[in-house]
Symmetry: C2
Subunit: 166 residues, 2 copies
Amino acid sequence: MVRLNEIRDGEEAVVPPPATDAGLVFIGRCHTPWTDRLTCPRQGRLDGPTCRIEIFDPWLPALDGIAQFERLEVLYWLHQSRRDLVRQSPRNDGSARGTFSLRTPVRPNPIGTHIVSLVRVEGANLFVRGLDCLDGTPLIDLKPDRTLFTPIAPRQAGDDQIGDGA
Amino acid sequence: MVRLNEIRDGEEAVVPPPATDAGLVFIGRCHTPWTDRLTCPRQGRLDGPTCRIEIFDPWLPALDGIAQFERLEVLYWLHQSRRDLVRQSPRNDGSARGTFSLRTPVRPNPIGTHIVSLVRVEGANLFVRGLDCLDGTPLIDLKPDRTLFTPIAPRQAGDDQIGDGA
């Protein structure tokens, strides 16, 4: 069963510092078939349903060139997730482990990162497969999949720095 | 040359909405050899220098179980980046393309995502290779590399949903 608001046996909550170190702007919204956390996939699949990512003004020009990438990295804001658990019990069986060793939506900064395949771009809409978030989830970033991207900018010294030698 | 604050030929800036849709808490800090944007790597490499990620209170218990993963996904806040460019010219040659087709630090929400190899964990410190950020960069999340992680929680209906059939 998906977590709604409960704290389970073995889990540990903290009093988090205020989330005021930096601010996000929602740049769009994910439209998916899942309106209920009880049916939403745990992990998206590239053969899953086609979903739509809508980009808000004034960010449309930032899509220029995106269609050349077969896969994109999508960052979204898991707006229904609590943020105060440091140990969690995904199976709800009394066993628990640290939040940073899980890819659960419940985390200090509830940001999901996901790889999707890009089906097509139509104006302010991207059609993709592989999403696993609730309908209406706010979008915070889109990037080319790192395995498909080579920096265009000139190399810098750090790019050739290896190991821990003096 | 790395961007400092200039807008280059062919680039396009917008007046962004206020970044107040959600708030982040910095959960730690990255310690790297790079103190200058002119030498910082464009892309980290897994044979690069060992760097240290420091985790702040009260998040230490969230590290429990992380040592079992050979690679981690790191999300950090690119605190020196401007956020208002929708078209950018990485080569500074007059050609430009959309921000979402680049992995540049300059983006509406300047979040870097990166895969690092985990060398060891010592208390509140993780030693990793593959980082490419400036010394002092704020940390916002750590997750197991998605290719090494299988959800522990029970499957849900959406996990078995494929294609766009009725």
